[in-house]
Amino acid sequence: MSEQTNKDYEEKIRRNPQSLLEEYPRKGTNIQSTHYCAGCGHGIIHKLIAECMDELGIQERCVMISPVGCSVYAYFYFDCGNFQTAHGRAPAVATGISRAEDNAIVMSYQGDGDLASIGLNETLQAANRGEKIAVFFVNNTVYGMTGGQMAPTTLIGEKTVTCQTGRDPDYAGHPTHMCELINTLKAPVFIERVSLANPLKIRLAKYAIKQALTVQKEGKGYSFVEILSPCPTNLKQDVKRAQEFIENQMEKEFPVKNFRNNLYTKEPVIRPESDFTTESLDKIFNVSRGKSTGYVDDDIKPLNIKVSGFGGQGVLSAGLTIAQAACAEGKHVSWYPSYGPEQRGGKSNCSVVISNETIGTPVVDDIDILIALNKPSLEQFSQDVKVGGTILYDAKIGEFETDRDVNVIAMPCVDIAEEHGNARTANTALIGALTELSDVLKRESYENAIREMFASKPKVIDVNIDVLEAGAEWIKNNS
């Protein structure tokens, strides 16, 4: 070979793949070399991933996530969009990126502490959702960047700075098998464990990485590649011992094999385009433009209503019906729900304030009209009814007397409701009475409110409107 051919050949071999930067300006100083230790596996893995990105023609679509750990600076090297994230959260960040940008090819590059310890939940959950992300898990059985502590994948008997006599399973548990764990989940498309122990295995590792990225290129879902990798610095190994450690110890604990490959059978996951039009939003929220908007400037006296009873008597929905009617007339109105100390089956009440101006407190303390459906709430809230106010209650509660100057009406609301075939509309009978007791709102507004409230149950609309009218009639004839 001529000298020139030799040089060309050397450049071809030595130059970085296009998806790796040729120099590392993000690194700051010393832009020619990486920050990884001599003999570290990260450099090899970076190159394998970048070669696959080149070969698949996906560089522009790729987003690489740098975790916390030795590969925290992966963004120094990868020539594509880059994120750096919090410790262990890369799969959650990847989820966010992938959901927002369906076309992006999202890679989460993580070490054993990041992925299998602090980020185990995010790891498994993202896998279980079948997120469209590729996770590259670099397993070297030790925390690197923080100084050689025990990792979830540290082997039994292996010495680290936090298990100085060797990992003892009685105190520190057993090595975590991530491929096996993820293989219990249904969603992942591709799961494989590979090794960097020798050049042949490195070639096989590249093939797995390429498959994992092909899954992404085709939008098929989740892929996971665990890479058994050397950490000569923290494990205090030379080249020979690092290789032996991977082959003779790691591979025994963590079998190198393909766990799942559904690349050729899995259909792509298609996500819809986001719709930002006013028309579509107006449709889902039932907004019809052009009709009345905003508030009407009627001069009305503020009206404080309290509806109270047991949970399940329709107390809150009765209040909401009144509030809906007021809203439809362009009044200021607030509806505020509340309950007694017992949360289920206990007392329940709501405050409704109707006004022609901005409403201060939505909690009604001075009551103009109290509607009571049970005895405890009648007794409790009757104290708060203003002089000249009205107490309207279900006659079934029995006799109620007060020496205060308030208008007390016992109404057979359940009987009225039953006459129209549905005892559950007793609360509507009381609202019917309200239409006569206060002229703040029009009867038809209440009717419209009932139509709106029961829009999903059209059968009960007519009954309720009949009962509303009957309630109003009763009050006319009995007061």
Partner: protein, 370 residues
């Protein structure tokens, strides 16, 4: 109609969707769950993204990821969940990413209970995560503002590339009021100068909060402080009610400001010159306005559902502790009108007995509908 009776929690989602929010990530917690429910219902109807995350930590990091792509994104939670999210807040602030977080406060510390409180004030307004950062904080006090300020939050988040928190409580979430719908839906433009979208245009971009060089990080910190100073100068919103001639000024936000407003009306009926200063932005805080009033010699009453967290900011802005008072409830109890009135009468020297000894047995509803 374009005004409807709507619950506060629903109004948040309406505001978010008209503001062009593309992704919602969240985890259930009472009393904020309803926002999650509404998002899960409405977002997919228009092809937008909803993910129920595995935890609040995951939610806020999904927000980090989606926000880094330049889309408008949000999450919601309540105290205990917000505490878990603090890591994400500081990462968002450090990477200068826009995001909207809605905090429907509940009572603490610890699990506390699900009643309304305002005890998250410090953890939201003062930071909460590590480092020299600030959130922008908006405090709605009506259903309309739950919608409008959520929209505003997206605008501010994009404008300043900073997390914005809508700070509300369980009462505002549960109550219903008429909502005038936004006039139109926004289709946000993605800023490709910094976003990372997985395309050719944004390949060079990097989302990170790392600055290895100490001087670089210091410079970045100074730059952040300059940004916050600008926000302080430009974005303060304050709502005043009868403050002009007031000798007693209530300072209050959120649901307690509604009760404070009623107290102003009652006080005025008695001829007391009392007004209400309501910070709509808690961060930036209306420091200058408080100082002006302090210089006029007004008495301040902080009306809050926390242990004086708001009061401390009033005192700090007023540059005095004298003539500042606290009316507060905690533990999930709503402020009662009588407590506020009693303090106003006491300061005004009005001899009227108000029995404040009895505690109301009524609890604000967390999420019950009968």
């Amino acid at each position: 109609m374009s005004n409807q009776m709507v619950k506060g929690n629903t109004a948040v989602i309406i505001g978010a969707m008209y503001a062009g929010c593309d992704c919602f990530f969240g985890y259930p917690i009472t009393p904020a769950s309803e926002i999650l429910h509404e998002a899960s219902k409405y977002f997919p109807m228009v092809g937008r993204n909803f993910v129920q995350a595995e935890s609040e930590e995951a939610s806020i990091n999904m927000v980090y990821g989606a926000s880094g792509t330049g889309h408008r994104v949000m999450t919601s939670s309540s105290g205990p969940g917000i505490s878990l999210m603090q890591e994400g807040f500081t990462f968002l602030a450090g990477a200068e990413l826009p995001a909207v977080i809605v905090d429907i406060m509940r009572a603490g510390p610890g699990l506390g209970n699900i009643g309304p409180e305002q005890g998250d004030y410090n953890q939201i307004v003062k930071g909460g995560g590590h480092g020299n950062y600030k959130n922008i904080v908006l405090a709605p006090n009506s259903v309309q503002e739950m919608c409008d300020l959520t929209m505003k939050a997206f605008e501010l988040a994009d404008k300043w590339r900073n997390p914005v928190v809508v700070l509300a409580d369980g009462t505002l979430g549960q109550m219903a009021e008429p909502l005038v719908f936004p006039t139109e839906a926004i289709k946000p433009k993605i800023d490709e100068t910094w976003a990372v979208r997985g395309n050719k245009e944004t390949m060079e971009n990097l989302i990170t909060s790392i600055f290895n060089d100490f001087n670089d990080l210091e410079d970045f910190n100074f730059k952040l402080q300059e940004k916050y100073a600008k926000i302080d100068a430009e974005e303060v919103i304050v709502d005043e009610y009868q403050v002009e001639d007031a000798e007693i000024v209530l300072v209050s936000f959120g649901i307690s400001s509604r009760i404070a407003r009623s107290a102003v009306d009652k006080g005025r009926e008695k001829g007391i010159k009392v007004g209400l200063l309501r910070p709509v932005t808690l961060s930036p805080f209306p420091v200058e306005r408080v100082k002006e009033l302090a210089d006029k010699g007004v008495e301040f009453i902080s009306v809050e559902m926390s242990n004086g967290q708001l009061l401390a900011d009033v005192q700090f802005a007023a540059l005095r502790r004298e003539g500042t008072h606290l009316v507060n409830r905690m533990g999930g109890n709503l402020i009662e009108l009588k407590h506020v009135l009693a303090k106003i009468y006491e300061i005004a020297g009005i001899d009227e007995e108000i029995d404040t000894s009895k505690r109301s047995e009524e609890k604000a509803s967390p999420n019950i509908i009968d």
